[in-house]
Symmetry: C2
Subunit: 167 residues, 2 copies
């Protein structure tokens, strides 16, 4: 019975993800879903991406966090639209939350939306949110066995960013 319920949650999630995918295609917006462990450096990657892209593209941000608005506060300096989702203790952003957050953005004035998912290498990888690509962020300090130990994200992500490296 639990498995049945889980399946219906996944189906419902997928249906809304399909709606989002269609809407993003219509609006010609690229949607990226950034996923990684707590402290992998997702917000720092986002800061760098915004800095490099903001003169060429109109960018919007959906910030997911269990608690606090710290990440959203860090991105305020760029003066771009940000929607914060506090999941309380939810371990991922479901597609319905993304749909609601997108409803808070003026989509006609955006080219790219970056989602920063909850810091978690497991759950967010299971939930399609209609993104063009998942971006996995992993820091070298987590150890080189993470793709083997958390295979779903690393097989689903089109882009993997290896962070906190010495040069």
């Amino acid at each position: 019975m639990e498995i049945k319920v889980m399946k219906s949650i996944l189906d419902a999630n997928e249906n809304v993800a399909d709606e989002i995918r269609k809407m993003m295609q219509e609006k010609k917006i690229k949607l990226f879903n950034i996923i990684g462990s707590p402290g992998a450096g997702k917000t720092t990657v986002l800061e760098t991406l915004i800095q490099k892209l903001k003169n060429k593209f109109r960018i919007g941000i959906i910030e997911g966090d269990c608690a606090t608005d710290r990440d959203a506060q860090r991105l305020k300096k760029f003066d771009i639209p940000i929607v914060l989702i506090n999941t309380e203790s939810g371990c991922y952003l479901p597609s319905i939350s993304i749909k609601n957050a997108l409803g808070e953005l003026d989509l006609d004035s955006l080219d790219i939306v970056f989602i920063e998912n909850v810091g978690n290498l497991v759950c967010p990888a299971h939930f399609d949110v209609g993104e063009n690509s998942k971006i996995a962020v992993a820091s070298v300090t987590e150890g080189d066995d993470k793709p083997a130990k958390y295979p779903l994200l690393f097989s689903e992500a089109e882009i993997v960013i290896l962070n906190k490296m010495d040069f």
Copy 2:
């Protein structure tokens, strides 16, 4: 309806956790639940704990991992009983998995059981497994904002180990 199901899952988890707690008291076993992000260093902490305690106490291990037996392999050198739980892509160890794993150990010949939970700062903190204490492991490379951003684990844990420090 989903909330009702979630509540029944949490209730069912709690009932089994209470069974485990009672069984551990009867057997005079201390049960510790080690929780932290992927790559925080949970297995390394466990290696150190086993090394320091193995001459005074009889130790058993329950290893939780999404995939691979890498952590269990790392602990084989101590020649102590280890039960591995592969959650496939499950994001925490529910109490029923712990109960089943305890059934694989000879509890009359143990003083301490350490559980290494799935690498995840969010979900495992929600699920009581009948432990005496939760031990949170956090690495300094994750950043100092983690207790604020993932408050449940850090408020639930009786012990917090700050790992990967320079001295």
